[in-house]
Symmetry: C2
C-alpha cells in the first residue's frame, strides 16, 4: 500500500497513526500540500478531489478521505467498536470532526501557519466555531475517558489529529483540562511521540 500525504496535515497524520498502530506495511509518498502538490495532474488523476491523504492499494485502486481510509484500514481491529451502537457513535464523532472541528481548527491553523495571517485577524466566526468544538469535546470528556466506549478508537484518533495543534492558531487549552488529559492518554495509546 502507498499512502500519499503531507506530515504537516492532521488529516494525513490520522492515516499514519492508524497504519503504524496496526503495524501495516506501507510506502509513504510525500505530497507538498502548501505548494499545490495534491492538485498536480498526476495526483488529480488518482484523486480528482485534489486532496490528500489518499491510499493506493496493490491493484491500483485509490481511496480518499482520511476518516474513510482509517475505517477501511482498521476494519476488524479494536479501533472500531464491535457493538453496533458504539460503532455508530464513533461514526457520529468522525462526521462531526470533519464538519464542525476540522473546518474551524485546521482551517485557522492553515491560515496562520501557511498563509501568514495574524491570529488577531482571524475571522471571529471561525474562532467561535473552533471554541464551540473544543467546548463540546471538553464537556464530553468530563464524563467519558474516551470518545466512545472503554478504549481508544478512530473517534479519538480523528479528533486528536488537529486538537494537538489547536494552540498554534491561538485556541487556548488552559481551561480545558479534560481535553489536555485525553490528549495525553491518546498519545500514549498510539505511542505517538
Amino acid at each position: 500500500m502507498k499512502i500519499y500525504g503531507d506530515l504537516i496535515s492532521g488529516n494525513c497524520l490520522k492515516v499514519k497513526y492508524v497504519a503504524d498502530y496496526l503495524g501495516l506495511e506501507y510506502q509513504w509518498v510525500p505530497v507538498d500540500v502548501v505548494g499545490g502538490g495534491a492538485r498536480m495532474p498526476q495526483m488529480l488523476s488518482k484523486n480528482p478531489a485534489g486532496q490528500v491523504p489518499f491510499i493506493e492499494v496493490a491493484d491500483g485502486r485509490v481511496l480518499a478521505q482520511s476518516n474513510a481510509i482509517m475505517r477501511y484500514l482498521a476494519a476488524g481491529s479494536t479501533l472500531i467498536p464491535g457493538d453496533p451502537f458504539d460503532q455508530a457513535k464513533m461514526d457520529q464523532w468522525l462526521f462531526w470532526e470533519q464538519y464542525s472541528h476540522e473546518t474551524a481548527i485546521a482551517v485557522a491553523r492553515f491560515r496562520v501557519l501557511y498563509l501568514g495571517q495574524a491570529i488577531e485577524d482571524l475571522d471571529p466566526a471561525l474562532v467561535a466555531k473552533g471554541n464551540a468544538a473544543l467546548d463540546i469535546m471538553e464537556n464530553h470528556l468530563a464524563e467519558n475517558v474516551w470518545f466512545v466506549g472503554g478504549s481508544v478508537t478512530l473517534a479519538d484518533i480523528a479528533l486528536y489529529a488537529y486538537t494537538q495543534f489547536a494552540e498554534q492558531p491561538g485556541f487556548s487549552l488552559e481551561r480545558r483540562a479534560n481535553v489536555v488529559c485525553w490528549m495525553e492518554k491518546t498519545k500514549i495509546a498510539l505511542s505517538v511521540t
Copy 2:
C-alpha cells in the same frame, strides 16, 4: 425510534429516505431549524451539537450526524455494499459530501432561501466550491451509473439530498446531464416523489 428533524433540511431527509426505504417504524418529531429549534435547551440536552437530524432509540440513547445515522439504520441492507473496498468507497463519498458538497450547496441554499440573501450576492468562493463539487459528480457519473457498485447505496442518498435542491441557490444542472439522469434513477430507486 424517534427521528428529530426538519423536512426542509436535506440532512434530515436522508434519514427519512433510508427509514422509509427500509420500512422502519418511527415517530417523526418536527424541529424548526430556521427558528432555532435545534438549539433549545431540551434539544441541546439530547444533542449538544445543536443540530438535527438525530435519532433517539428505545432505551433513550441518541445518535446524531445524518450520515452516521444512515449507516446505523442501513446496517446489513443492500444500501451498504458488502465488499470491504466498495464499502470504503461509499464512506469516502459520505465524508466528501459533508466536507465539500453540503458545505457549499446546502450553505448557499440556506442563505438564499432562509436568510434572504440574493443569489448574485453569494460569496464567489462558495459558488465556485459548489460548482467544483457538481463537476466532480458529473465526471464520476460519466463512467458510473451509481456512486459505488451496481445499485443505489448510502452514497447516492447522501448526495441526492442536497443535489436535488442545487438550482434553488442558482447552481445550474443544464450542462450536467449525468447528474440529472442519476437523480432520476435515485428518485425511482427510493420511491421518492
